[in-house]
């Protein structure tokens, strides 16, 4: 009855979609956070946007991408990035910014330059916060990646939507159950890594 190949394929597409968006977002968000550390205007504008966009439903974000970029895989990645990049930025930025003054002061005292302070003081201190942001974003990416099937990105969501259109509950479940398993695995594994990082730093 159940075609495992179709499910595995969909799982692969889903993971590829969610994780490529996550990786691109991390690559963009972290340099942006470092830049904002030295530019107060950039920081306040991005933080304002981060707080505003947080409130907008994912479905609306996914929908708004369609008139801008059309449908398919690329708009879907763009929608996920749009959804997760600002929380990532916010966590990284606040983590880097809120290093206790005493550490920065002693680092300057022993003659470290800006770059070394960033590398040896700020980043290690910000690591738990950055990782918390990545965990949060991974969960959201996983969730939005299901939704983007609506705009033709394929993956597990497609099985769900195909099942929905002709009210075929078993088909809906073949999409939904792997999605739940992925979500739980994601949360458990990230929590374990998070625990080790928080212990270390």
């Amino acid at each position: 009855m159940i075609n495992y190949n179709i499910i595995l394929n969909a799982v692969g597409q889903h993971l590829f979609l969610a994780y490529s968006a996550l990786i691109i977002s991390i690559i963009i968000a972290i340099p942006l956070a470092v830049l904002s550390l030295y530019n107060r205007y950039l920081a306040s504008i991005l933080l304002l946007f981060a707080n505003l966009i947080q409130a907008i439903p994912s479905f609306a974000v996914v929908a708004i991408v369609v008139p801008l970029l059309g449908i398919g895989f690329k708009p879907a990645i763009f929608a996920i990035i749009l959804r997760i990049i600002l929380p990532l930025f916010k966590n990284t930025f606040t983590g880097l910014r809120d290093v206790e003054f005493i550490y920065l002061d002693s680092a300057r005292g022993i003659g470290l330059n800006q770059w070394e302070i960033l590398r040896y003081i700020r980043f290690p201190h910000a690591f738990p916060a950055i990782f918390a942001g990545i965990k949060f974003s991974a969960v959201i990416a996983n969730s939005v990646a299901i939704l983007t099937s609506l705009i033709g990105a394929g993956g597990l969501g497609e099985l769900i939507f195909e099942g929905l259109t002709n009210f075929n509950i078993p088909k809906v479940l073949t999409g939904a159950i792997p999605a739940i398993i992925i979500a739980i695995l994601l949360d458990v594994s990230f929590s374990l890594i998070e625990k080790r990082i928080t212990l270390k730093y």
């Binding site: 609306a60 369609v66 769900i160 979500a183 739980i184």
Partner: protein, 208 residues
Amino acid sequence: MIAQVWKTQQLTIKTVEHLSMVFMALLFIIIIGVTIGVFLYNKKNLSDIVLNILNVIETIPELVLLVILMPFFGIGFKPTLVASILYSILPVARNTYVGLTQVDRQYLESARAMGLSEREILWNIRIPLALPMIAAGIRIAIVFTMGVVTLGGLIAAGGLGGPIQTGIHLYDKDIILVTGLWIGILAVLVDSIGSWVERYLNRRYGYD
């Protein structure tokens, strides 16, 4: 363009529908969430298990939670309501629990010194001091509920999700743009009301 879409998609009615669903879901969420929070405060050894279970529910994609409920609740408003509740209980319950347990020692000590019973301390000291935390939890719940109710449009729950689905199916950019932006604006407005209430409670009951 805006006026036309607004009229053909009946966005005024849809908005009223949308907000009333959010409001109703929030009523349930606040009642259930605060009750769970107070319950966990009374039974602290259960708090880890219960909060972890709620945490797992929260990692499940919104849409998947919605469709998983369909075999039990059918389509439309009911599964949407249940999904919103399941999804948003965690922030309210967790914040209530944390708010109640993390009251400063000095307040508790002076209350005990005045001879207040534990029940009186809960109602007169802990709950008022926990209000800003609870409000922060409710604010997160509002954001989640807006998201789930919007998705409810996909399973015929009404509200503003419906026009978006129509727009995507017809590939009508005007409908998508107008409805999508309107949902965005609405969400930001509702959230800023929430943040205003939160700030008020912080001034009234906050520690600093």
